[in-house]
């Protein structure tokens, strides 16, 4: 249970929140309309993805004739082609979502720009899938069906290395210069028992109206990044301080190392299932098994999404609670949630299934409820 403890008090009961009164009935109705369309788009994209992958799992092995490479190279080709097909199938759904976001003025990015900007990420994914397949297929060809245990260990190690190294590969952000926030940072770090964590700013306002901030890195590579959209209206300085405290709390509560631990717990049985499922195609050492493996991995991701999201929500709730403890400003947290709903058009109280499958954070209404619960406990 090393991964499960939380700073949120046991048995904390969250008061019910009247979302219309808190967020405004008009905003709630608009956010619901906005999100409903995106839910449908997402669901259709998932159906299309699964159908495509099922077809690819059945027919994909025919692409082996397009390879003059050995088994590992052919496996890489099949993996990359699978990724290419998935990208192509997802493209219209992504464009429709972008159209909707532009219609609601949440995104400013052009359609072609959106496709082009995705290419660097796609190239990195092509490379990543090649590395993953070389590891898995290489181990499977050497160890046979016993590959899954060392394979899972290698992936956890890569995940840890990636989490550690990513901040050092960031060349797009700039240091935060807001003196008030920097002063607050020093105070929060002292209260949270953290050393100096660099806080940086990512300029995204040319492309989107959405506001965000995130924490990443482990140990000496820890960073907090604000989108520049978070550092302007409608967010006040007090709200920005709450965001800063929230992100620093992720580091003080070791959420990123915990995430790697959780990944390990999922990766080991996942690798075992992958080994068993691909037996019918000769095991992961055979390139013909790669299309089926892609389908299995996507199914595993979908199946584990509710649990993974629950773990993520638990961490986010803990970061909110710690942020309240260091800022002692529940009113700003509440206003922050209203501001996030305004800029990102997030539905304050999404349907249960959406929270289960997509909710990496507690709903905005739940976060407001937590602010009120904290206030009830800690203020006279």
């Amino acid at each position: 249970m090393l991964l499960y403890p939380t700073a949120v008090p046991d048995g904390l009961s969250l008061p019910s929140v009247d979302v219309d009164a808190t967020f405004g009935a008009r905003l709630v109705a608009r956010a619901e309309r906005y999100e409903r369309f995106l839910y449908v788009d997402w669901a259709l994209a998932q159906v299309a993805l699964l159908v495509t992958l099922v077809l690819y799992a059945r027919k994909g092995a025919t692409f082996t004739r397009e390879s003059a490479a050995g088994p590992l190279g052919t496996g890489m080709l099949l993996g990359m082609l699978g990724l290419a097909i998935v990208w192509l199938v997802g493209l219209p759904f992504g464009l429709v979502a972008l159209w909707w976001q532009r219609r609601y003025e949440v995104e400013d990015m052009g359609y072609l720009e959106w496709i082009y900007s995705d290419w660097a990420v796609l190239a990195a994914e092509f490379l990543a899938i090649c590395v993953a397949l070389v590891i898995v297929m290489g181990l499977a060809r050497r160890l046979g069906e016993r590959w899954w245990l060392p394979g899972a260990a290698v992936f956890v190690a890569i995940g840890a290395l990636f989490t550690f190294a990513t901040p050092y590969l960031d060349f797009t952000t700039r240091p935060l210069e807001d003196k008030a926030l920097l002063a607050a940072q020093t105070r929060y770090e002292r209260d949270l028992g953290l050393p100096d964590v660099p806080v940086r700013v990512e300029d995204v306002s040319d492309d989107t109206e959405q506001a965000n901030a995130y924490a990443y890195g482990i140990g000496p590579s820890r960073r907090v990044v604000f989108w520049d959209t978070m550092l302007r209206d409608p967010f006040t300085e007090s709200e920005q301080k709450v965001v800063l405290a929230h992100e620093l709390s992720h580091h003080s509560q070791d959420h990123l190392p915990e995430g790697i631990g959780w990944f390990a717990l999922f990766a080991i049985p996942g690798a075992w299932i992958l080994m068993r499922a691909t037996r019918v195609r000769g095991g992961m050492g055979a390139p013909e098994a790669v299309p089926l493996a892609l389908l299995v991995v996507v199914l595993l991701q979908l199946a584990s999404a509710p649990a993974a999201n629950a773990i993520s929500r638990r961490m986010e709730a803990e970061a909110d609670w710690k942020a309240l403890q260091v800022t002692r400003d529940p009113a700003s947290l509440e206003k922050l949630m209203v501001g996030l709903s305004e800029t990102s058009l997030g539905d304050p109280a999404p349907p249960g299934w959406a929270g289960l499958l997509l909710g990496t954070h507690p709903s905005l209404a739940d976060r407001v409820a937590m602010a009120r619960a904290w206030a009830e406990r800690n203020q006279p």
Binding site: E66, S67, A68, A69, G70, G73, L77, L81, A84, A123
Partner: protein
């Protein structure tokens, strides 16, 4: 089965009647200046020819055929342009004067007018664009962007701006430049470079003739068309093509992404090759030859570079392996075993390789353009045109012969003629000196 493009009758065909390759050093020194009067005259004739070309266009739209007199006028211009270009690019020595020479050493034969499709005529300038771009890349080269200037920003501050212009191709221009030095020294043109220039002029004549409606047949870039005059001597580094022309559209669409692991791998391999090349240089200086193990390692690298480039440029069909093994890919390189090499040529290898690397760079630009054209064609048709594929292979062949020369896999200089198959008798290239029939 589609007919071999080399055997198909071509309405615009290059003729080369200059086997001796002798050049007058005096006219070579001042070649560009001497050409000024004929270039001015060519420009004036060009204006007239383009006006007549417009009339041809109307004629094809109305009656599906170009009148004989107009056809002859434009054909005369295309022939004259070829002769003047051959003189400027050192592919021929006699002065072209101000009219078409009937027995000029480099000339084009143009068939009489035939009926042409009206639809093909209507969109001729659009259809001709890829061929004209390729002809330009093969000839003088393409360049993009102005070289510099000044501007005033919206805020009113004036500043200097510079665009780094980039260029593609210009293979014939580079070959002519190298031939200029060679001809000054030896009093004759290098055969390979002359054949490359002639091939470029032949393609240019086809493209121009097609654009000006002399023919409805699309220009063929197949290097096989150069075979009547060009030859490919036996070389220790030879291309072997066994690939099919079919392409999977999916792998074509994502070709650049699919090549990513190979690009990463070849970059890593190149680092090792840098050290291996230096070691081979020292070994060749000390022992007069490259050790078998180093030769095998470097040969595998050069072969792998061919596989990757062919795949990336859609010239090759299948995803290549990562080891550069011989005989594993449809566009492959045969490299002879190591042989003793001259220590003098080894000592100055890097400097000797510079002209070949310049030409390889120009041909690399042509290959890139070929890749772009082939990519679109394959995406639409699910196959690649044989002529363009073979031109791409010829460009890669020269590039990798240059790499092999630089990496001491052979001391035979790369051969520039864009030919893929040697003649049956496979004439031996003069070995003395090894830079001899350069380019």
């Amino acid at each position: 089965m589609a007919p071999d493009s080399a055997t198909v009758e071509r309405p615009i065909r290059l003729v080369v009647r200059d086997d001796e390759l002798r050049r007058s050093r005096l006219t070579v020194v001042f070649r560009l200046f001497l050409a000024i009067p004929v270039l001015v005259w060519l420009g004036l004739r060009g204006i007239a020819a383009f006006l007549v070309g417009f009339v041809n266009w109307i004629a094809v739209l109305l009656q599906g055929e170009v009148p004989d007199s107009l056809h002859d006028f434009v054909a005369g211009y295309v022939r004259y342009a070829t002769q003047v270009s051959a003189y400027v690019f050192l592919a021929a020595d006699p002065y072209p004067w101000f009219r078409v020479q009937p027995d000029y050493p480099v000339d084009v034969e143009i068939a009489p007018p035939k009926r042409q499709g009206r639809w093909g005529g209507l969109f001729r300038i659009v259809l001709a664009l890829p061929a004209l771009v390729l002809a330009t890349a093969l000839g003088g080269g393409l360049s993009f962007g102005p070289s510099g200037g000044s501007s005033t920003s919206a805020q009113g501050s004036e500043g200097e701006w510079v665009f780094w212009g980039s260029s593609a191709g210009g293979a014939a221009a580079v070959a002519a430049l190298l031939a200029w030095f060679y001809a000054l020294a030896r009093g004759r043109a290098p055969r390979g470079a002359r054949d490359l220039v002639a091939y470029a002029l032949g393609y240019g004549a086809q493209a121009l003739g097609y654009a000006l409606l002399l023919t409805g047949r699309y220009p063929s870039s197949d290097p096989a068309l150069a075979e009547p005059y060009a030859e490919l001597p036996r070389h220790p580094v030879q291309m072997v093509v066994t690939d099919s022309l079919e392409r999977s559209r999916l792998t074509v669409l994502f070709r650049l992404f699919l090549a990513i692991p190979h690009i990463v791998w070849i970059l890593l391999w190149t680092i090792a090759v840098l050290f291996a090349g230096i070691a081979a240089w020292f070994a060749a200086l000390a022992t007069g030859g490259v050790p078998q193990g180093l030769h095998r390692f470097l040969a595998a690298y050069v072969r792998y570079a061919v596989h990757v480039q062919a795949y990336l440029y859609v010239i090759g069909r299948r995803f290549p392996g990562f080891t550069g093994q011989p005989g594993t890919y449809g566009i492959d390189l045969e490299i002879d075993p190591p042989r003793p090499q001259s220590r003098w040529l080894t000592l100055f290898r890097f400097f000797l390789a510079i002209p070949a690397l310049l030409l390889a760079s120009a041909l690399g630009g042509v290959a890139l353009l070929v890749a772009f054209l082939v990519w679109w064609y394959a995406l639409v048709r699910g196959s690649v045109p044989e002529g363009l594929r073979n031109l791409g292979v010829a460009c890669i062949r020269y590039q990798e012969q240059a790499s092999a020369y630089l990496l001491l896999l052979t001391d035979r200089y790369p051969y520039a003629a864009p030919v893929l198959q040697g003649r049956r008798h496979e004439p031996e290239l003069s070995v003395e000196p090894a830079v001899g029939d350069a380019f």
